[in-house]
C-alpha cells in the first residue's frame, strides 16, 4: 500500500512539474547549448571557447545561451546575438563572406597549387628516366673518351 502511495506521489511530482522547467534542463537543450557555446570565444580568456572556459563571464554567457536555446532560438540566431554585441571577434570561426573568404579559400588554393607542383615535378622526372631524347653530347668529350680508351688499350699491350 505504501509502495503504491510512493508511486502515486512520484506520478504527481512528474505531472506537477512545470513544463518550462523540463524544457530548460532537458539533455537536448544542454547539448545544443554546448554546441553553440563551443563556437563562441570567451571574451575574458586567451583562446578558449565559452564552452571550455571556467571563468565566471563564460559561465554567465553559457547561461544566456541556454536561456535562448530554451526559448527555441536557433544556432544562427544565438550567434548573431553575440556578434551584434561583441562584434565578429566573438565568433571562433569567421563568417564566410568578404575578406574572410580568404581564410576559408586560401588553404584549398594552396592545396591545388601544391598538387599541381607535385604533378609537374613527377612528370619531369619520369620523362628524364625514360630517356626518350638523350641530351646531345659535346663532341669534345666523345673524342676525349675515345682517345683515352685507345691509350689504355695501347698501354696494356
Amino acid at each position: 500500500m505504501r509502495r503504491i502511495g510512493f508511486g502515486l506521489f512520484g506520478l504527481w511530482l512528474a505531472l506537477a512539474a512545470p513544463p518550462s522547467l523540463c524544457a530548460a534542463s532537458s539533455p537536448e537543450v544542454e547539448a545544443r547549448t554546448r554546441e553553440i557555446a563551443a563556437e563562441l570565444r570567451c571574451v575574458v580568456c586567451q583562446s578558449l571557447s565559452v564552452a571550455d572556459s571556467p571563468s565566471d563571464m563564460a559561465r554567465q554567457m553559457r547561461e544566456l545561451v541556454r536561456e535562448q536555446v530554451a526559448q527555441g532560438k536557433g544556432r544562427q540566431e544565438v550567434l548573431d546575438y553575440f556578434a551584434s554585441r561583441y562584434g565578429e571577434f566573438v565568433l571562433l570561426s569567421p563568417e564566410k563572406r568578404g575578406f574572410n573568404l580568404l581564410v576559408w579559400g586560401l588553404p584549398f588554393v594552396g592545396l591545388v597549387a601544391g598538387a599541381f607542383g607535385v604533378y609537374a615535378a613527377a612528370r619531369r622526372w619520369t620523362r628524364r628516366a625514360s630517356g626518350e631524347e638523350p641530351p646531345p653530347i659535346d663532341p669534345a668529350y666523345t673524342s676525349r673518351v675515345r682517345r683515352e680508351l685507345e691509350e689504355r688499350a695501347q698501354g696494356r699491350e
Binding site: 544566456l64 551584434s84 554585441r85 561583441y86 562584434g87
Partner: protein, 174 residues
C-alpha cells in the same frame, strides 16, 4: 632563369604582410558594433534597493560606467573622476549610471562609499547587462545621447580630460 629563384622569396611577401597586419593590430581595440546604435534597455536594481530602467533616461545624455570593486587599480583611478564629472554636469541634465559587474553587494557598497558615489549604482546579477553591452572587462564606459543612441565607447580608465571631452560631445548632440 633568375626570376625563378626569386619566386620563393616573392611568395613569402604576402604571408609576411598578412602577419605584419595581424601583429600590429591591437586585439583589445575591437570596435564595438553598438556605437551609433540604440542602447539596449535594462532594469538596474540600485544599491539602495530602488530600481531604474535606462529607458526612463530618454531625453538625457547618460554616462554608463561598468566597474567592479575587484578592478584595481583602473576602477579606483577612474572613480573620483566619474563622481566629479557627475557633480559638474548634473545641472546641465547629464545622468551618470554605474553598473558593478561580477561583484558582491557588500564589496560594491563599500566601493561606492569609499568614493562617495552620489550617482545611482547597481549590481548586474548574471552579467546580463554587461553581455548585452558587449563588455569585455572593467572599466568600460558608454556615452549615450539624448535619443538613447550609443555615441561612443571607452575601454579602460577614463582620464579627467577624456571624460570631459566625451561629456561635452554628448551634450552637443541633439
Amino acid at each position: 632563369m633568375a626570376w625563378k629563384k626569386l619566386l620563393i622569396p616573392l611568395a613569402a611577401v604576402p604571408v609576411v604582410l598578412l602577419l605584419a597586419y595581424g601583429f600590429w593590430t591591437d586585439p583589445r581595440s575591437i570596435p564595438s558594433p553598438l556605437v551609433e546604435k540604440p542602447a539596449p534597455d535594462f532594469r538596474l536594481t540600485l544599491l539602495d534597493g530602488s530600481a531604474v530602467s535606462l529607458r526612463s533616461y530618454l531625453g538625457k545624455p547618460v554616462v554608463l560606467n561598468f566597474w567592479a570593486s575587484w578592478c584595481y587599480p583602473a576602477c579606483y583611478e577612474e572613480a573620483p573622476h566619474l563622481e566629479a564629472a557627475w557633480r559638474a554636469y548634473r545641472d546641465r541634465g547629464l545622468a551618470v549610471l554605474g553598473v558593478a559587474i561580477q561583484d558582491t553587494e557588500a564589496s560594491a557598497r563599500e566601493f561606492a562609499q569609499k568614493f562617495n558615489f552620489t550617482f545611482p549604482n547597481g549590481l548586474d546579477p548574471g552579467s546580463k547587462i554587461s553581455i548585452d553591452f558587449g563588455v569585455y572587462g572593467v572599466p568600460e564606459t558608454f556615452f549615450i545621447d539624448r535619443q538613447g543612441r550609443i555615441a561612443a565607447k571607452h575601454v579602460g580608465a577614463l582620464s579627467p580630460g577624456a571624460l570631459d571631452g566625451q561629456i561635452r560631445g554628448l551634450l552637443a548632440r541633439p
